[in-house]
């Protein structure tokens, strides 16, 4: 029982990442009708926002401290981050320690900006082109973004630790008399994902803006005829979708040190997630994200691996194939989406 609960939890954090990326992909697809292969790159850019902020906060100046010496006997150069100099060592140190959560604030404007530029600069011109062209151009864009990041940050994974306070483990099962030890940050990640997903859904469901967007998803032309500038709203939705992917990336950095090709690795999986959930269905994307995350973690249990060797490597793809063949529209896909 403990083991099963633990696997479910393990699946939730990966599932959260899948769900967030798939949610963004579906938002873009549902609003603009564009298949965005560069979405994984947005996830990666988000992760590197965290890296950048961490580096910015760690910018320091050197002071030669005559009272201390290093092991060669020379006066020691003490590095003090500017942040610590400005806010005092304690508060400044805390800011540096909390770089990753702070990067959320840092990443939101950047990601919305990146999304806006991407939509206006490139994707706008591809609405009328076939889906294959959209796939290809965004695939090219993903390569470019990835290589640019590689140029500036190098090819090696960069450690970005979580704040010390959230770095340990917590026994989640204590309340119900079980022993389930689990890293705190992953719990944080899961709740963060739930908040974001809830936020997006309530934004679409309970605001006028969201209502118009939903109307536009259902029938773009009619909404346009009613005198609403639907293109502008869709552009904003693209920015929001980019921000969702970016935030997923920011928060994922302590779980997995970011490197330049992390986006591609997640992209393939999130596309599978979107297709399993049903192209264009937001709840489907979220559901499929969590479902596949949990299935993946169950498949990596030793008992199951010894039963069917290699199943952990292929489970997601296998499920996708089965779903696509038995329920061609995915779990919650609507009729008439991408069926031409």
């Amino acid at each position: 029982m403990d083991a099963i609960l633990l696997q479910i939890l393990n699946g939730l954090d990966k599932g959260s990442a899948y769900a967030l990326i798939a949610l963004g992909l579906t938002l873009i697809f549902g609003t603009l009708g564009v298949v965005n292969f560069a979405h994984g790159a947005l996830f990666m850019i988000g992760a590197f926002c965290a890296v950048t902020l961490q580096r910015l906060l760690n910018l320091s100046y050197e002071v030669v401290d005559e009272t201390q010496t290093d092991f060669l006997g020379n006066p020691l150069k003490v590095k003090t981050p500017y942040v610590e100099a400005w806010f005092g060592p304690e508060f400044g140190g805390a800011i540096i320690d909390w770089a990753v959560p702070l990067a959320i604030l840092f990443a939101i404007p950047i990601m919305i900006g990146v999304g806006y530029v991407m939509e206006r600069g490139l994707i706008k011109h591809f609405y009328k082109r076939p889906h294959a062209d959209q796939i290809l151009v965004t695939f090219g864009l993903a390569i470019v973004l990835q290589e640019v990041v590689k140029y500036f940050y190098g090819a090696n994974p960069i450690q970005t630790p979580a704040p010390d306070a959230l770095n340990g483990v917590v026994n989640l099962g204590a309340a119900i008399g079980m022993d389930i030890v689990y890293p705190v940050w992953r719990v944080v990640y899961f709740f963060f994902a739930v908040v974001i997903i809830g936020g997006i859904f309530s934004f679409l469901q309970f605001t006028t803006f969201g209502m118009v967007v939903r109307a536009g998803m259902a029938d773009r032309e009619t909404v346009g005829l009613l005198g609403i500038n639907i293109d502008r709203r869709f552009t904003i939705m693209f920015g929001i979708a980019a921000a969702v992917a970016g935030l997923a990336g920011v928060m994922y950095t302590p779980i997995n040190s970011p490197n330049y090709h992390m986006g591609m690795d997640f992209l393939v999986l999130s596309f599978v997630v979107v297709v399993v959930g049903g192209m264009g269905s937001l709840p489907g994307a979220v559901l499929a994200g969590f479902l596949l995350g949990i299935l993946e973690s169950f498949a990596s249990m030793n008992e199951i691996k010894s039963l069917i060797p290699g199943i952990d490597q292929i489970i997601i793809y296998l499920v996708a194939i089965i779903i696509l063949l038995t329920r061609p529209r995915g779990l919650m896909g609507r009729k008439g989406v991408m069926e031409d």
Binding site: L136, V275, G310, Q313, A320
Partner: protein, 401 residues
């Protein structure tokens, strides 16, 4: 000639001449001149040109004709490589059985994957092929290690049985791949003045096979079967309404292009007998998509051009470094020279993929027909409006769907 019309015959002859005289054409600069680094006439690179040419020709039969965008074609190439290396391990070092087996195995594999994937079209098809390819890649890395040798990759060893050959040569080394005794690596060098031309047995084998593959693809393009595939691309629904089941046709196209990929994989293993799982990764599938689009999907010559273009510039760009750039721009004032070198630096050497990505985006945005369309446009500008209209009428550059 060979059942082709005049235009296709001349195209085939041009390609044949280019491949046969490639050691000369690709080696225009004397060996010791400063421009020798732009030479591409050495065996390893020329082999890659034609092998990836075959791969792209095959991919084009599927994507260019039917419009089905497969993102998992590298799986067939990988399977072909593995089967060829196993043939070298078990049977002997002759390349013919290896190539034949790799084509057959890749064909069967494509039949299986195609049968399932082709139930869906559009992006669903792309995702399904991607899923299958990633599955094969992951399996090759993990569970199938006894067959694929995992991360190390499948290699020849001295203990291999090789029932029709010898496990080890007289001097105790691993025998080399050959075609009835003609070693694939044997190279005849010809020095003409300051030039040195290399004629490699392996290259010519690949080149002949590519010509055959190219000829076959022309025949497919011009056949009723090819017409049917084009009809599937332009309007599959209408085909279904006329009571025609399109799936056997698309499946046949898928299997044929899978066999081409297997052939390319088999040749790759014949030139250099090892096979690794990274050949099956989806980035490798992406590469053949790039080649085909860059050259011009749906055209005959496009994929070959694209493959050559990408492999040539990959090689050249990777070789250029800052020192080379400095020597080029040394005529400029010092500050400007550094600035220019600094600006170009991200795009060369390891930054080649960046250049490729940008180039690819530009092609997709402005030239959906690829290099072939670019060539036709330039031809149109040079010879006036009339020729341009003719080019359009020929209708060879339908943008990819």
């Amino acid at each position: 000639m060979f059942g082709l019309n005049k235009k296709d015959t001349s195209l085939l002859i041009i390609v044949a001449c280019l491949t046969m005289f490639a050691p000369f054409i690709l080696n225009p600069f004397p060996t010791d001149s400063g421009l020798a680094q732009f030479n591409a006439g050495y065996p390893d690179l020329m082999q890659r040109f034609v092998i990836f040419g075959i791969f792209a020709i095959g991919f084009n039969i599927l994507f260019g004709l039917t419009g089905y965008l497969s993102f998992g074609h590298a799986a067939f190439l990988g399977v072909g490589s593995y089967s060829a290396v196993w043939m070298f391990k078990l049977i002997g070092m002759n390349v013919i059985p290896a190539i034949v087996l790799s084509v057959i195995v890749a064909g069967l594999f494509a039949l299986l994957i195609g049968f399932i994937s082709l139930r869906r079209s559009g992006i669903y098809f792309s995702i399904l092929t991607l899923a299958f390819a990633q599955m094969s890649f992951n399996l090759a890395y993990s569970v199938l290690t006894p067959i694929t040798n995992g991360e190390t990759g499948l290699q020849l060893t001295l203990e291999d049985p090789r029932i029709l050959g010898v496990s080890a040569t007289a001097d105790g080394s691993i025998p080399v791949t050959n075609l009835f005794g003609l070693e694939m690596r044997s190279t005849f060098e010809m020095a003409v003045g300051p030039w040195a031309f290399q004629f490699n047995a392996g290259y010519y084998l690949c080149a002949f096979i590519m010509l055959a593959a190219f000829y076959l693809s022309i025949r497919i393009f011009r056949s009723p079967f090819g017409m049917m595939l084009r009809a599937v691309k332009s309007n599959q629904q209408r085909m279904n309404y006329t009571g025609l089941n399109t799936r056997p046709y698309t499946l046949a196209a898928f299997v044929i292009s899978g066999m081409y990929a297997g052939l390319a994989g088999g040749l790759m293993a014949s030139m250099d007998p090892l096979a690794g799982a990274e050949r099956m990764q989806w980035t490798a599938s992406g590469e053949v998509v790039l080649m085909t689009i860059l050259g011009g999907a749906g055209t005959l010559i496009g994929p070959v051009l694209g493959a050559g273009f990408i492999k040539y510039f990959e090689n050249i760009f990777s070789k250029i470094n800052d020192n080379v750039l400095h020597s080029w721009f040394s005529f400029m004032p010092d500050g400007m020279e550094d600035a220019v070198v600094f600006l170009i630096h991200p795009f060369i050497g390891k930054g080649w993929h960046l250049t490729l990505g940008i180039l690819f985006m530009l092609v997709v945005i402005f030239l959906p027909g690829g290099l072939v369309e670019g060539g036709q446009r330039i031809k149109g500008w040079l010879s006036g409006r009339k020729a341009k209209d003719d080019g359009k009428a020929a209708g060879e550059t339908n943008p990819a769907e």
